[in-house]
């Protein structure tokens, strides 16, 4: 059975036995090149669920406690390795009700960056399929081109160390081959930026953050961001960011987000993918996670019995003078 079939079978069983009231996965949107989150209520409808190289969405964002449409419902959900870490981060803080959850781990070999592929064409893409490391893209006008998948991976897949879910009730198919987690994580993307001079970094960041339009997409999609309407970025009392949008304010806005998710963000990449103006937020959260790893050898959301590092302390912490 393919992973897609496994997911459908597990969802069907869970829905028909009443283990869950609804099941969150992915489905095709208006053509095979588009995948969107799916909410399946009936066991007969599970065939809409898909698993392919476009299933990037971190579905755990729908679990945040304030999602009140169906407050007592039992929920089934698909999580990739990266998604499972945000799930664990939410569990570490008791923000999801584990009794009501049924978690299906989906082993993942890397996903394709649709946005990057779009830039290769002037025409609308209608189909994307992958097989044996090659991505075949077909456009509306019938043009088909092949690309090596390795060159068109999502940025988040480039730094992935958790191909299998760290927490799952059931797993859809055989596990993916795991990276050696005893090896130190690699941070070449961050190191490249660090290598620039202070002035260069300053100028680049200003240019990048000047384009932010404060649409809040990054904050809305982030699974560990749960303050919703009370978000301090919207607050007028105290006022940390003004509604007048300027580059400096935009950077403070993002740093508020970053510092509030510090220790809980596993760099799943959802924020990068959600940004309509393609701000590389990974520049910030990857740097943050690099420093957190350096300080504590801690990977957010990797182990359920750990405490997020900024919610606790050790008397022996040796920082500062």
């Amino acid at each position: 059975m393919s992973r897609q079939d496994e997911i459908r079978e597990l969802a069907r069983v869970a829905l028909s036995t009443g283990r869950v009231d609804y099941f969150i996965g992915w489905r095709e949107a208006y053509n095979p090149s588009e995948v969107v989150p799916a909410f399946v209520d009936e066991p007969d409808s599970v065939d809409q669920l898909v698993w392919n190289d476009l299933c990037a969405h971190n579905l755990t964002t729908f679990l945040k406690r304030k999602m009140n449409d169906r407050p007592n419902a039992k929920v089934g959900i698909c999580v990739k390795g990266c998604d499972s870490r945000t799930l664990v981060a939410l569990m570490q803080e008791n923000l999801v009700d584990r009794e009501r959850l049924y978690v299906v781990g989906v082993p993942c070999d890397g996903l394709v960056d649709r946005r990057k592929l779009e830039k290769e064409f002037s025409d609308e893409i209608i189909d994307i399929t992958t097989s044996n490391g090659t991505v075949s893209v077909t456009t509306h006008q019938g043009l088909t081109r092949d690309f090596p998948k390795a060159d068109y991976l999502l940025a988040a897949c480039g730094w992935c160390r958790y191909k299998n879910a760290v927490y799952a009730d059931d797993v859809a198919g055989p596990p993916a081959e795991e990276a050696d987690r005893h090896a130190k994580p690699v941070w070449t993307d961050v190191e490249a930026f660090e290598a620039l001079s202070d002035g260069e970094r300053d100028a680049m960041l200003e240019e990048i953050f000047a384009t932010c339009i404060r649409c809040f997409a990054c904050i809305n999609v982030c699974p560990v961001c749960y303050c919703w309407d009370q978000c301090v970025n919207r607050s007028r009392r105290p006022e940390l960011v003004s509604q007048k949008v300027d580059a400096k304010g935009n950077l403070v806005f993002q740093m508020v987000h970053m510092l509030h998710v510090a220790g809980r963000c596993p760099s799943c990449g959802a924020c990068d993918r959600a940004c309509p103006v393609e701000i590389p937020l990974s520049l910030l959260h990857r740097k943050m996670n690099k420093e957190i790893y350096d300080m504590f050898e801690f990977e957010p959301g990797a182990k359920l019995d750990e405490m997020p590092v900024f919610q606790c302390f050790k008397i022996e912490d040796a920082f500062g003078d």
Partner: protein, 169 residues
């Protein structure tokens, strides 16, 4: 208003506002061409470092005049975002000081602060703010001379870079 010794002296002396040690623009070769003393915000905990600064005052330990202090009950009260706001609004340097780990008046506040400031310091540098412009340290209520040393050294470091003209922050 009564004439005081200071106002008499003020009448006589030129009303320059150059802080000691600031030098001329030429002396700070390479610094941006803005001739004003560097402005440094110090955020200090009430029980140790604020009192330590008081002790320095009682001992008349001379310091450069560039630091303005903000009093908080504990370094644990300090949100790292205050530091970002200070830089955003134009501070040339930010200094944070609290009780030594283990001595916190509220027993644990500075343990939390220690972790947050370590991360903040690393992020600030990444955001283009040079190391010399941010410092966090511990000064106890009895350490007047240490306070003097911390302020003198920090101001000297910031002055070498001159007033800050950040673009991103």
């Amino acid at each position: 208003m009564a004439e005081t010794a200071a106002s008499k002296a003020r009448g006589a002396a030129p009303t320059s506002v150059a802080a000691p040690g600031s030098g001329t623009p030429a002396a700070r070769a390479g610094a941006p061409q803005v001739d004003r003393p560097v402005k440094i915000i110090g955020i200090v905990c009430n029980w140790c470092s604020y009192a330590g600064a008081d002790t320095a005052g009682v001992g008349r330990f001379k310091q450069p005049a560039n630091v303005r202090l903000l009093r908080v009950p504990c370094t644990g009260r300090i949100d790292p975002l205050f530091v970002l706001k200070a830089f955003e609004k134009g501070a040339d340097g930010v200094l944070i000081s609290g009780c030594h780990p283990g001595d916190c008046h509220y027993s644990e506040g500075n343990y939390y602060a220690r972790r947050k400031f370590e991360l903040l310091e690393r992020m600030l540098h990444y955001l283009g703010i040079p190391k010399e412009r941010f410092k966090w340290t511990w000064v106890s209520a009895s350490e007047g001379q240490r306070w003097q040393q911390v302020v003198t050294d920090f101001v000297a470091g910031v002055e070498k870079l001159g007033p800050r003209e950040g673009r991103a922050l």
